[in-house]
Symmetry: D2
Subunit: 99 residues, 4 copies
């Protein structure tokens, strides 16, 4: 695997992402409990929205880090890889905007 296939998550932010994803996993478990206990739909929906927002925030942070590391680095290096990295980032942004 070429080096540019590496994630450029700094050591610090890695721990932060893990914490956020564990909280999101907990939200998924909380939702199961709410469904199990047949809680009110609107309350379940409110929780789903909160979880979706938390996931979206993770995406935006990941994308920022990706642009600030991989994409900038490729841009500096130049050549076809810069183009390719940008195309890849654009596609990821489009998926995010549409999801």
């Amino acid at each position: 695997m070429s080096t540019h296939q590496h994630s450029y998550l700094a050591h610090d932010t890695k721990g932060d992402y893990l914490k956020r994803l564990r909280r999101i996993e907990g939200q998924a478990r909380g939702l199961q409990r709410m469904v199990e206990e047949e809680q009110y739909c609107i309350d379940i929906l409110t929780q789903v929205s909160a979880m979706t927002k938390a996931l979206q925030a993770v995406s935006l942070s990941l994308l920022d880090e990706h642009l600030g590391h991989c994409v900038l680095e490729a841009a500096r290096a130049g050549g076809p890889e810069a183009e390719e990295k940008l195309k890849e980032a654009s596609d990821a942004i489009a998926r995010l905007v549409r999801s």
Copy 2:
């Protein structure tokens, strides 16, 4: 708690929601593993988008069920509760659209 505060999840769909939420919980765990192993950002982002879409589909199903049960029932009963239920559903839709 009044009866209308109950979730109107049919027995069948309840199992279906639990299955979908367990899969989403699994996706959250998979994402932690990807971050742990420092996988490529774009691959992580693709997984986050898939998980967001799965959550969104759960929201839409829950909302459908809510409209088809609670809201219709309140509509038939009439009175201020119909208004209130509708307002509540509208707010949930707005949160969904904006999340």
Copy 3:
């Protein structure tokens, strides 16, 4: 055309929608001017986001009105039309959430 195919826009809200849509039309013209004058991409994007939010707010108002009139009315009347109206509203909500 059957009566339920009518828009249930109250007289007052009709004027309000027209005003909002005219403002949105003006935003589309403003964007053309910005592109024509080669203004800064980020400033253009900010305007596109504002316009998208304005459109989304129109959707949510229309949907509220639709749920509060057509759907409630069909619910009270009962029968297959209630089901059909709900399905139609659900599909519109899904399009909104995904757009």
Copy 4:
């Protein structure tokens, strides 16, 4: 105004954006006609969704162009401007994702 405040819309794509925005302006006028004629809410909503999608596609194209020109250029030049450009692009992406 410094040169980097310029839009990097290529001559060709400028014409394309203008064409797309004129079509969007036409959609805004079409919607006013639909409201004026009291057409069915769901049909109006379908048109609003189509228009929102068209706007979103314009945003994504603009963002692509911005990343591929301004941001890459700033990245190559390096220094604080690269950081600043990236922050600006990230904020625009966040606004897009949330709108």
